[in-house]
């Protein structure tokens, strides 16, 4: 493939939305209230909508008549590029909100920067996505405050969730070699430029939510290189079930 770097770069963004969408999809019908259930599903729908635009683009680069679904569903686990954060399970609603918020702030900054990409397709997808993601961030940020500054029990649960996910943040700001080539060519976004503003925004929000900012210096990463947590295999098992069981069919 002549645009190998671009292809992988698109997957890096798309896979995050896809895998997080899968996690939210599991929750549909099981939320703490009907209203919350409907709201989370809206977020999942936004994410899946974005992935279709990305995968269609990636499929066009891959050629050989590949479709969006081939790209989304027929890779081996090592070829998925999402960060570890988004594949973590819905342990409880606090985890759902922590995972969402920590990703949303990043996602919003990424989309904001991607609008200026000199790749027109990516810039257009980002321009649409930015409004969706802005809302996601507002939703998860509000819930972070409600749970953090709610009851004693919710505060404890929310703190535990934030502590749990903190080490996963570092990976969001990792840059692979192919990322670097994309940044150089003006297509990719240099995530390092908003690392600081990410931490300061998250820190402010955590404080407002009466939560303690973790001081854990350790990080968990690997997803961007395709080395995932043990959860990933199960996510893919469901995602790929139909395509693997009945290859090459139309649905």
């Amino acid at each position: 493939m002549k645009n190998q770097d671009l292809y992988i770069y698109i997957l890096g963004i798309a896979d995050n939305s896809l895998i997080l969408g899968q996690r939210l999809g599991e929750l549909c019908g099981h939320g703490p209230s009907l209203e919350t259930d409907i709201a989370l599903t809206n977020i999942a729908l936004d994410l899946f909508g974005q992935t279709r635009s990305y995968y269609r683009y990636a499929a066009s680069l891959a050629g050989e008549g590949k479709t969006e679904d081939d790209v989304a569903m027929l890779r081996i686990e090592r070829d998925y590029r999402n960060v570890l954060l988004v594949e973590q399970p819905n342990t409880h609603f606090g985890h759902v909100i922590a995972r969402q918020y920590l990703f949303d702030v990043f996602h919003f900054q990424l989309m904001t920067a991607l609008v200026d990409s000199n790749d027109e397709t990516l810039a257009a997808v980002a321009a649409k996505g930015i409004k969706e993601v802005g809302y996601h961030k507002r939703f998860s940020g509000d819930w972070l405050k409600r749970l953090g500054d709610g009851t004693g029990e919710s505060h404890e649960k929310m703190q535990e969730a934030i502590d749990h996910f903190w080490p996963y943040i570092a990976e969001l700001f990792d840059t692979t070699e192919s990322d670097e080539r994309m940044i150089e060519s003006g297509v990719g976004v240099d995530v390092a430029t908003f690392r600081e503003s990410y931490y300061s925004e998250v820190t402010d929000q955590l404080k407002e939510a009466t939560l303690t900012v973790p001081e854990n210096p350790y990080s968990k990463k690997g997803g961007k290189q395709g080395v995932h947590s043990e959860h990933m295999g199960y996510i893919l098992t469901e995602l790929q079930y139909m395509q693997r069981t009945y290859p090459n069919l139309t649905w």
């Binding site: 209203e35 709201a39 809206n42 409600r146």
Partner: protein
């Protein structure tokens, strides 16, 4: 501490130039959540450009038992309607 989320009434303006119309109700813990829930529940199909929410308990409603004295007196005020006045057909644009 067992308190359920209160009920809110949702009003949506479908497009500028139109009034807000009652769309339905939902539950939310506070106004910000009510607004977000209203957006997610009642404008999923691009139904609105503006939303009002008000906690249901703040609405004062007339009582149907009083409908006689509340509304019937207006029925006989026929002179408030243009058809009450007899004018020759030659008078146009009036």
């Amino acid at each position: 501490m067992k308190k359920d989320w209160p009920l809110w009434e949702v009003f949506v303006r479908s497009k500028n130039g139109l009034e807000h119309r009652h769309f339905g109700s939902l539950h939310a813990a506070d106004a910000a959540m009510a607004l977000e829930n209203a957006r997610d529940v009642y404008t999923r199909r691009n139904e609105g450009v503006s939303i009002w929410v008000v906690e249901s308990k703040y609405i004062t409603a007339s009582n149907p038992e009083d409908n006689g004295e509340m509304f019937e007196p207006a029925q006989s005020k026929v002179y408030r309607h243009p058809t009450f006045y007899d004018l020759p057909d030659e008078v146009k644009h009036m």
